[in-house]
Point group: C2
Chain length 461, copies 2
């Protein structure tokens, strides 16, 4: 499908560029009018600067607004600049509030003020308010373009109201019901409105238990609620239960994808949470270096600590350098088992399936058992194969035992660390691959050399 839709984009680009270069504005307009704004934005972003301007001016204002909702903040400012003040006002007026706020949040104070000054009074006030909230909270991702009706009107009136408000609302599929003080007291779906008798009062058929979130609720928790209750939108209230905005399911999907990417990157020990919309490669590279280096430097010191520990066993190593051969194998297997356990634990915590003391102990017990069993299998293989390769039975046996002990320890650490982190209020995802593998390297090498120096001296020397 990706391939397919990419091909389509390439085809569209060829058509667009051809029409642009032949100045066939009418034909081009007809062609792009049929496309989804998301597709138009894709085409737009692939054009060079001159063609971009030419292309964008061909769009109708309504469409220009929809397309601007899909681009990054830099392109947004650039494209907006093409128009005269009056045109800018018209375009901005048509844009979805939450998308505009996302774009404005990335601009300089000055540029932001300039754009807000083009909005009508009500919109400007809304946007200023929305910009205040932390972008990871319900307040930061909500829109103020929602439909609310008073509880003491009839279905008929409500539908009439909806017809009027439809053009300004992000969704009309949930109708929120408020009292005189604008407190959220109920909810109705458009579906229920449609199938009910027109003369019934709203308050008689509304649902009084409304699932809502506070302005400060973390966006991840908002996503969890929407996902759990299969909602199309969720209302956001302030501390006095007054409805302040709504969050629609399309924004929730973005949150879920963003959070998943963030988690995946954390596992790899980098905080590159956002795909930077920056064309200059040098800036992208420096941003990557900056976000990865901290983890790497921590692990450098972990590695140097390992070196010191091995240094302590250097006399053992001098007697039998063959021991060094198995160091990467041991550290590697420990790291792998530990990463598996920590990944499952961290994801379990994130998805809410590990909670409460009972589950914590169950997870720990289970992971240790898994470590015991996979460790046993791998150790037997290593012992047998290394005996055939090296011909030293005692050494092979000792390496196997050490690896087994190491893998059980690794599974325990991999499960324990994220659980402890969660307990003390640290993000469990910090117990990511680099952190876990470094810890396990250190414990693993200590186990290996302690065991080998004891066992080899007893069994051989």
């Amino acid at each position: 499908m990706t391939r397919h839709s990419r091909e389509k984009l390439e085809d569209r680009l060829v058509i667009t560029i051809e029409l642009l270069e032949n100045d066939e504005d009418l034909k081009l307009n007809e062609y792009i009018e049929e496309l989804h704004p998301a597709d138009v934005a894709e085409i737009l972003l692939e054009l060079d600067d001159d063609n971009q301007v030419k292309f964008f001016t061909i769009l109708s204002w309504k469409r220009a607004s929809r397309v601007l909702e899909e681009v990054d903040s830099e392109t947004f400012v650039e494209l907006l600049e093409i128009f005269k003040r009056e045109q800018k006002i018209l375009i901005l007026d048509q844009m979805a509030q939450d998308d505009m706020v996302d774009l404005l949040a990335e601009l300089s104070e000055e540029k932001r003020k300039e754009i807000i000054s083009l909005l009508d009074l009500e919109d400007a006030e809304d946007v200023r308010e929305l910009l205040i909230y932390d972008e990871d909270t319900a307040g930061g991702i909500m829109t103020k373009e929602f439909v609310a009706v008073r509880k003491d009107i009839t279905i008929y009136q409500a539908i009439e109201d909806l017809r009027e408000m439809a053009s300004e609302a992000e969704t009309i599929y949930y109708v929120y019901v408020v009292d005189k003080a604008e407190r959220l007291v109920g909810v109705l779906s458009l579906r229920e409105l449609i199938v009910s008798k027109p003369n019934i009062m709203i308050k008689d058929i509304m649902h009084e238990r409304v699932i809502s979130v506070n302005l400060n609720t973390d966006q991840e928790d908002v996503a969890r609620l929407v996902s759990k209750y299969d909602l199309l939108a969720i209302p956001v209230v302030n501390d006095n239960d007054r409805i302040m905005g709504i969050i629609t399911v399309d924004d929730i999907i973005d949150v879920i994808e963003e959070e998943a990417t963030e988690d995946i990157y954390k596992f790899a020990g980098t905080s590159e949470t956002e795909d930077i919309d920056e064309d200059k490669v040098s800036i992208r590279i420096l941003a990557s270096v900056k976000s990865r280096l901290p983890w790497l430097i921590i692990t450098v010191f972990g590695g140097l600590l390992s070196a010191q520990i091995i240094g302590g066993f250097q006399t053992v190593l001098n007697k039998n350098t063959t021991l060094a051969l198995f160091m990467p194998l041991l550290a590697g297997m420990g790291g792998n088992v530990g990463t598996q356990s920590s990944t499952l634990t961290v994801r379990g915590i994130a998805l809410g399936s590990i909670h409460g003391k009972k589950e914590v102990f169950k997870t720990l017990f289970q992971e240790i058992c898994v470590g015991f069993l996979v460790g046993l299998c791998c150790s037997v293989i290593v012992a047998i194969v290394s005996f055939f390769l090296q011909g030293e039975m005692v050494l092979s046996f000792v390496v196997g035992i050490a690896m087994w002990a190491n893998m059980i320890t690794a599974a325990t650490i991999g499960t324990f660390v994220p659980l402890i982190f969660k307990r003390i209020g640290v993000d469990p995802a910090v117990a990511s691959a680099p952190f876990i593998t470094t810890t396990i390297d250190i414990t693993g090498l200590s186990i290996y050399f302690t065991l080998t120096s004891i066992l080899l001296s007893r069994l051989v020397m």
Copy 2:
């Protein structure tokens, strides 16, 4: 919020159990009638077997159906058993088709047939059809409970039709338009229906470009389209463009979460894609062992290969055992850098931001530069610190150089392997942490010993 909602569940459990044990059925019914089915299912799953049966029989049939949609297949069968045949028929009739199909797919052939025999003819046919499709495709996650109208009716008629069909449809917010042959020819939102004049014909206001997927489209691609175009539902068509079903956004959210978890687990080298709904710990442990062992065994052989390579340099190692001290550090840093690069590349491919030759080369160039820079920083730190710790300048210098070379190679391999995998049609996520780290261990150690044996013999010996 998790904590908060957990606390709430615990409160609810206390209330429920108290009401159950005092046989206050009416009060309990009143209490749970106010809760969301997802919450009722949560309570239900926490009760012991006797209370579960007692609790479930208190629910109304309609509610029982909604609650059954939320439980796992085992609980579903158990709870359904409580009822008499006639009651079962009523309950099953109310259930959402796609949820029922998901449950049935996990049951034995026999059990499945038994339940399908309780459905009315039309539903039974639908369910049998849906069970045929692969569960990871559009056909496997769609529902046949959708609303379609003919293109040659008026808005007024369409709204009347909707009122009638509303109770049987999963969503009525998108109205699909078909021709005589039931081919999908257009779409309209309920919003557009509501605000249009009643006497207009459907075909005059419908959108002719409908974003749809084929029965065989992979669920991940379906999710990408819904996310890109901010849809509430997407129609599924067969090869003749006949509309076969729809997929609603709540199911898309499940797909996105499922795929993210799958990707995260793959990074850690395990295929434990589903949180197994299995109470017996022993079965869970064996399932984990089974899914993790393949990766671990592959890496065992990788590790044994490393051991062979180091064995080839044993004369160098015998001369200077201090070289062994830095092996874990080198392998570890290579693994970390490689994992970072591979994670970013794999996620970039998954999210569709790396495509086309231009981006492939850009990504490769960028990651190598990042490897070069972070490698430089880390190597300088290692060289300086190890000089202070060991006092051997030449060795420290050589270790630094080897680590730098190793980290650049690691970043290159970490980026290159997933890109190649994608190119040759292998899932890039297979280039997960274990695979990458093992490869890098082998190359890293070869670089280290080759460089040290050349440089140390030239500089010192």
